[in-house]
Every structure is written in C-alpha cells, then in structure tokens.
C-alpha cells in the first residue's frame, strides 16, 4: 500500500512575524521557512506505518514555488521514499490544493492520504476535509491515534473532538489529518539528509493535472491585532459589572 503525505512550506513557528507595510500580507522575505509542524507529524505517522510493514512506500507531496523542494528534501531526509512537487506560483487556497491532491491521488493511487490538520500560517483546517469530499473517501480528522488493519483494509482513528475522544473506523482508502498528540516527529539525521539528495522529486504543473487554479477568495487587508490595553483594577463588583456591560459589551 502506498501512503501519500501532503506537506506545506510555511513560516517557521519560532519566527516573530510582522505585517507588511502595505498590509497585503505577512512579511515572508528573509524569514525562515520550514515544514508545517502538523505536516511533520503526518509524515512521521506515515513513516511509522511503513516501518511496521503495513505500507510499502511513502510519497511526500508539496505545492508552491520552487523553494518547496527544500521542504520536500527535509521530508525525504526524515524517510519518505519519493517526492512530488507541484509548481505553482501565487497564492494557493485550500480548495485549489484539494483539487490538486485529488488529481495526484488519481495518478499515484495511494491507499491512505495523510495531512496535517491545518497549516500554521493560515490556520484554515480545510484541505483534508475538502479532498476527502472531492474523492468521496472517508475522513478521520484531528487524529490522535491511528491503527491500521491491513487484512480488513480498515483504519481505526481516535479523533480529538471538543467533547473528548471519538473513535472512528474508516474503510481504506481514507484521508487522515493529524493532530498534535499523535506522535513526536523524528529528527532528520545528517546521513539521511545526505541520502535524501539522491531521492527522486517529480515535478508537475497544475496544467498537467488538469486543475485550474482560480481563487474565490481575495485578501483585502491584513493588519495586526489591536495592542493589548493595560488592565484596570476595579474597586467593587458593581463597578466590574458596569464595565462588562457598558464598556466591553459582553453582558
């Protein structure tokens, strides 16, 4: 069984981001970029499934400008066997990514598609769900535990939901999106980084996959959140209620 993992190149989580002066977005020039942490967890899970013998190959997929290849190389260094890069400049919103993933799934025919639950730059949490819808595959999102049963072609996924944990049984092929508590991703070791240089990364363009990248969304403005105001010490409960009612408008 093949596993496909989608990884995204995002601003590194440790970087303090700034809004661009023209308010069209966040400053990404000269800023450290790395693999989305949830995508790392997804890749780690795929690698563990492969190491337990239930899968034969892990393919890492990334979409975006040429620098995405660096992210794919990190994925290959962690242990993925092959990489696929869909070259696309300009903004890629979740629906476009989902359509591209659907096209790639039809090419590669994996038994399992694992993604991170959301990307830390846009926090959309949409791609996994959309691609499952487009493919008509079952989905197990916010996975905190994944157990595969190869014989019955079933995946048992524990999901982290607001009420607690929900366990689903999914028929393969399926889409799984990973949450934080699923695993701790491995470090890419130096020797593996060296070996990754010789692993294959195949390039596609959206035209080759017959997907039209058009966006139904337009970013109008990006601004910083208002600065936190200093706290005020109130002298009595009545004053507190008054402020909550008349100033904060929460009651």
């Amino acid at each position: 069984m093949k596993i496909m993992v989608a990884v995204k190149r995002v601003v590194d989580y440790a970087v303090k981001i700034r809004v661009k002066a023209d308010k069209t977005g966040v400053e990404t020039q000269n800023v450290k970029m790395s693999m989305n942490p949830f995508c790392e967890i997804a890749l780690e899970e795929a690698l563990r499934i492969k190491e337990s013998g239930l899968a034969s190959e892990v393919v890492a997929v990334s979409m975006g400008p040429a620098q995405c290849v660096d992210t794919l190389r990190t994925g290959l260094a962690m242990g993925a066997d092959r990489g696929i890069h869909v070259e696309a400049t300009g903004a890629l919103y979740p629906l476009s990514v989902a359509k591209l993933l659907k096209a790639l799934v039809e090419v590669e025919k994996p038994g399992l598609l694992i993604l991170g639950k959301q990307a830390i730059d846009d926090d959309c949490n949409q791609t996994g769900q959309m691609v499952a819808g487009l493919l008509g595959w079952p989905q197990g999102t916010f996975a905190s535990k994944v157990v595969l049963d190869k014989e019955n072609q079933v995946a048992t996924v524990d999901r982290e939901v607001d009420g607690g944990l929900e366990t689903l049984s999914l028929d393969l092929p399926a889409v799984i999106t990973t949450d934080l508590r699923l695993n701790q991703p491995r470090y890419a070791t130096l020797p593996n980084i060296m070996k990754a240089k010789s692993k294959v990364i195949k390039k596609f363009t959206p035209q080759e996959l017959n997907v039209e990248i058009k966006s139904d969304l337009e970013v109008v403005q990006v601004t910083e959140p208002p600065k936190r105001k200093a706290g005020v010490i109130v002298s009595s409960v009545d004053e507190l209620l008054d402020k909550l009612k008349n100033e904060a408008h929460v009651i």
Binding site: K16, N30, E51, P185, R186, L190, P191, K195
Partner: protein
C-alpha cells in the same frame, strides 16, 4: 567459529583489546571501507532498519553504500546481531573479506597521512581508540565548524582551489543555527577587501551589499549634549550591510560550488585518535529530555571525520577554547589572554524622512563612565532600517553594571531620540567581540586542523571591523589546508601566511589603541589620536592588556549600585520584550546547556561577593536569582533564553559557568542583523 562474529551487546566490551576476537573488534572500528566491502554489506542493509526508539545498547548501525566524490565511502559498521547476517552471506567469505579490508584500509590510511588506526598487527592486539563505537560516522576531506564569514570563506576558497588544480575535496560545514545566518550578528560597516579577493564578481552576483557609506560622524556624548569630534574612521569604499544577509548569500555561493552545509547540527565533541590528533567532531545527541533520559525521537549524534578540521565557531567558540587549552596554543606564542566586549544591537525601522542610507555614526562617552571602555554605533541600512547598538568592554569593574540597561539608556539621549521616534524594533540580539587584537592571537594550528575567524580573534578594534580579517583568515587557512591535503605540506604554513598577510600588518598597526584605555578615557583618546595621526603603530613597544575580564570585576561592597530607569515601552524595553524579537527558540525539554562546574559557587561567591553579575550582564535574562521555599535566593538558569553570546563563559568571576552547545537548530533566529 560462529562465536567469533558475535559482538556482545555492551558497547564497552568492544574496546577491550583482548575481546573474543581481535578481528571483530577491528572491523567495528574500521572507518574507511573500500568498495568491495560496501557491496558485500549492501545486501543486508535492507533488513537493518532505523530504530529511533530502541534502547541505546541495541542501537543498530547504519550501512552506507554511497561514496563521497573523493572516493571515501561512508563508514561501514557491522550491526550488533550477526546471526541473521552470517546466514545470508557465506561465513567464510565474511571472514576473509573483512581480513583483507583491514589491511587495505591501513595502507590507504598511511598514504593519505590520516593515521586513523594505530596498527599493531593484522591479527591480535588491534586496539580501538577513544571514539564511541555506536555513532554513525561520515568522512570528509575537510570539516568546518561554523557557517560564518570565516568558515564559508574557507569553504569557498577550498572549492575554488580544487577547480583550479582539477582535484576534488569533499568539504562539509556544520552550523549550530537553524539556518545559515541565524546566529550571525554584527554592526556592520563592511570593508570588502577580503570579499574582493574571494569573489571579485560579488556585485554582479547580487551580493546583499548595496548601501555605500555616505557619511561618517563621531560624537562624544554627555548626559544631555553631543559634541562632534573629528572622525577617526576612514570608511570610504565601505558598505553598511546586514552580515546575516551576506552570510546567507555566501552560503548559497558555497553550495553552488559543491560545499555541503548542514545547519541545525551542533558540534559538541572533538574526536581524537590514539596520537592525540584531532580527527573530527561529533554532533549532539538530539531528543534528550531535561533529566537526561531519551525521548521518543532520540537520535544519537553523528561523527564527522575530516582529514583537516577548521574551527570557525565565532568569538569564544566552545570547541576552540577546549582545543586552545589542550594544546596550550596561547603559551606557544607567548600571547596574552583574550579580552572581550559585549555588543548588544537592535534593528529599527524608522520614519521615511529621517532615514539616510549609508549614514554612519559612532559615539563615545555617556552612558558609560570614564573607566569603562565602550561606545555605541548607529548605521543606516536600506528599506528605512537602521542598526543601533552598544559595545561594552567586559573588563568593567563595577559588578552592578548592566550593559543591556546602558543600551536602553543610550536610546534616550537627546541626539538619538528624534531618530527613533515613530519607529519600531524589528530585531534584537547580542554577541561578544574580541578586543585583544594583535596581543591575543593564539597559535592557531593544532594537530589535525586550525582555528580561523573570531575563534582565534582577528578583530581590528580601532576600526571596529573583524569581518574582513575573519574572511581573510579563512581563505589563508583554506590555502594551507589545500597544501596539506594535495601537496603534503604542513599546516604550519597557515601561521606563516597569516604573519605575512595584511591581517598582520593591520592588527599590528592597531595594537596599542585598546590597551591605552586601561589608563582611562582621556589617556586612551589621547593615545588614539597620537596613533592615528602621527605614530600609526610605529611605537617600538606593545602595550599589554590588563587583567583578564573575569578577574577585573571588583567585589560588590567596593562599588555602588547603579539605578537604571524603567523601560518606557516605546524607545526602551524590558528584556523579555527584546528577547521575543530575537526569535530565540530552544527545544524546551533538553538538558540545560549552561553548566556550572561547581553548583555551589553562585550562592557562595557570585551572589554574596559580586552581587550576582550574571543576572546583569546576560542580555537574555538567563540567570535569575529566585527565592525558593525557604526564601533563600537560588540561581535559576533559563537556558532556553540563551542568545549564544558567551558573555557568561567570559565574565563569570570564578569561571564557573561553562557554555556548551545546545541541541542543534536552537538559539536566536537573526535575519537582518
């Protein structure tokens, strides 16, 4: 016979010279494998899988069939359990090929002058040496520690020489920062002298050097006034740059030439062979929890072995200091101790009308007193960015001095306020600088390698420039290294080349500026003027440095505490806010990388005698004294704040704090510094 091939599970037993079979012991420590052996072992590589969660004693070793361009294959290590292995391959074949392997390796070692194995006979008595046997090992011709200006210049120069002479050497650069340039901080008014020699086409190749110096001012500050002094610098032809950006560009150039750069890997250990020659470095184990236990994603460090090692770790490099101590490199040339300064810098984005690209300003005087050498700088970059910072010498006497707070005070000076008003801070950071100059350059060659850049200390103090000399030292070391590896000359030619180069001439001329300030600000300024206008370094004697920095601190009761104003949040900030802007990040669950040689000294000496200076000079608030349950103040080390500046390693009065390298990839994340 079967017993011969089984290695016991304990790693220590492999080192015993009289273990069950000398043949097997030698095999597991063989580092150079020729192609025949690697093809033989290739068959079994598929079933030896990586096992990160396995316990350490059963850690499988990897087998790499690939080769570096120079023909050195990666180390072949036999796995621990041989039962399945020997059943796959004919038993007798393994024995005979391994035997041959040993002998041929010895011969190839001798030819290349590696001296990896001390050979005592084919069978019996073949002793292994000190390196850990359970780590993977990678071999290169040259291993460079630190991807800074010096390290990358050396790497680029090596590859250029390879191209000229039509040979190939494998060059590897390890860098502890998460990416190249992440730990690079400097003023920086760049003198392109060394870059012109290294990459003369830098302008066409779009190096991030685009702002020439347009004006050069020098002010003497008092609390409320700024007196213009004649400018002692000659910055014509120099550029105002962000060194972090330049180093990133150099990293790109190095990779284009075929240098392998590995950011995110911290060199923590030096590897020696049986003759006490340095043969390589080992990176940190990753995935170790705070208490020392192994986490889920534990990864053993990797050994990087090189025929030649170049240490370019920057000022007060942790491995360089160890090497200098071990081989007594300062005693060799009767050099003085190194003296240091702490530099703290911020990059601001200011209002459009106030920005003058290329404007250079240096100040002296306030807020520092007459006895403390130091000053500030303010450079205008491009895109409305300015670099502002303070440099405070670390041999200050008053333990109550807080360099960070002095910097915040500086920003409130009437000459500085108008520039910063309406602006915002982009980044913050700190580093230590070498101020020892000519008097403190250690003998930089050791068996197996050399020290380059700020780790040795080539900063020109009166010019306050060290980048060009660091780069030149890297280039000279590369040329010497190439001579050693290709022509069989000695590394001592590096030292000779240094002394004949413009680095030496420059540093010799600049040698008496800094020591003169030991006598006070006015004598120092007088000497500077004398040297600059008249003498130009021609004095027949060389002034000596005062006490080492850590000994210069007076006890607290002889000094008066300094009251610092509270930060206003607009021009001055508290440490946590500034630290946030340095993008500093360390994996939280790892052992603290700042080690106390004697854990009792902070409470017994630092706090009572010196009023805990580390809680003041550290620009990242790593050291704090917090009352515990018994209401006694105990030292708390917030290692994850560390900016890797090394001030604590330098300034601690009893030299009790040892800065070691944390897990690779941690530390500050400078991008425009």
């Amino acid at each position: 016979m079967f017993r011969l091939l089984l290695i016991s599970s304990k790693s220590t037993s492999l080192r015993k010279p009289n273990s069950t079979s000398s043949f097997t012991v030698s095999n597991s420590h063989t580092n150079l494998c020729d192609s025949t052996s690697s093809t033989l072992f290739r068959q079994s590589s598929s079933h030896i899988s990586s096992n990160p969660s396995a316990s350490p004693t059963n850690h499988f070793n990897f087998i790499y069939p690939t080769k570096t361009p120079n023909g050195y294959s990666f180390s072949c290590r036999l796995g621990r359990s041989f039962s399945s292995f020997s059943s796959q391959i004919g038993f007798g074949k393994v024995f005979s090929s391994g035997y041959r392997l040993n002998y041929e390796n010895f011969r190839s070692c001798e030819e290349n002058g590696c001296g990896f194995l001390r050979f005592q006979g084919f069978l019996g008595g073949l002793r292994s040496f000190a390196s850990e046997s359970d780590r993977e090992s990678m071999e290169y011709d040259v291993v460079i520690v630190g991807a800074g200006p010096a390290g990358l210049s050396a790497a680029i120069r090596l590859k250029q020489l390879c191209r000229e002479k039509g040979v190939d050497l494998s060059v590897c650069v390890v860098e502890k920062g998460a990416e190249v340039g992440a730990h690079i901080l400097s003023g920086n008014v760049f003198e392109p002298r060394a870059l012109d020699e290294l990459l003369p086409q830098w302008k066409q190749e779009e190096a991030p050097i685009s702002v020439p110096v347009s004006s050069d001012k020098f002010l003497f500050l008092t609390k409320n006034r700024a007196i213009s002094l004649p400018c002692p610098f000659d910055n014509k032809g120099n550029y105002v740059i962000s060194l972090s950006q330049l180093v990133r560009w150099m990293g790109m150039k190095a990779e284009e030439l075929g240098v392998e750069i590995y950011p995110g890997f911290a060199a923590s250990e030096i590897l020696y062979d049986a003759n006490d020659k340095v043969i390589g470095i080992a990176t940190n184990d990753m995935g170790v929890a705070k208490d020392g236990s192994k986490k889920e994603n534990y990864q053993r460090g990797v050994e990087l072995k090189g025929r030649m090692m170049l240490l370019s770790e920057g000022c007060r490099g942790s491995l360089s200091e160890k090497i200098m101590k071990k081989y007594k490199l300062r005693e060799k040339e009767h050099t003085q101790h190194q003296t240091y300064a702490l530099g703290i810098k911020e990059v601001w984005e200011i209002e459009e009308g106030k920005h003058k690209p290329g404007a250079v300003l240096h100040t002296l005087g306030w807020p520092l007193d007459q006895k403390t050498y130091g000053g500030s700088f303010l450079y205008h970059l491009k895109d409305r960015q300015i670099a502002i910072g303070i440099v405070v010498t670390l041999n200050y006497r008053n333990p109550f001095l807080n360099p960070y707070e002095e910097f915040q005070k500086l920003k409130h000076h009437p000459a500085i306020i108008p520039l910063l008003e309406g602006g915002s801070v982009l980044e913050y950071g700190a580093r230590t600088l070498n101020e020892g100059g000519y008097q403190s350059i250690p003998y930089p060659v050791f068996p197996g390698g050399a020290i380059i850049g700020c780790s040795a200390g080539f900063l020109n103090v009166p010019k306050i420039k060290g980048t060009h000399t660091a780069m030149k030292s890297g280039m000279l070391a590369a040329e010497a290294t190439f001579g050693v590896l290709h022509e069989g000359s000695k590394m001592e030619t590096y030292w000779d080349a240094l002394q004949k180069s413009w680095i030496w001439e420059e540093l010799y001329r600049a040698r008496n500026y800094r020591p003169a300030f030991e006598y006070g600000l006015i004598p120092g300024l007088a000497m500077s003027a004398l040297e600059h206008y008249i003498l130009k370094g021609r004095l027949p004697f060389t002034l000596k440095h005062g006490k080492p920095d850590h000994e210069a601190t007076k006890v607290a009761k002889l000094c008066s505490p300094i009251q610092y104003p509270k930060p206003d949040g607009v021009l001055s900030f508290d440490v946590p806010t500034s630290l946030h802007r340095s993008n500093t990040n360390h994996e939280h669950d790892q052992p603290a990388h700042l080690c106390l040689r004697d854990p009792k000294i902070p409470e017994l000496v630092n706090f009572p005698d010196y009023a805990a200076p580390e809680s003041r000079y550290c620009p990242a608030r790593v050291y704090e004294y917090i009352p515990d349950e018994k209401n006694q103040l105990k030292l708390q080390i917030n290692a994850q704040n560390c900016l890797h500046c090394k001030a604590c390693d330098i300034k601690d009065p009893k030299q009790n704090i040892e800065w070691t390298v944390p897990e690779g990839g941690g530390g500050p994340g400078y991008s425009v510094m």
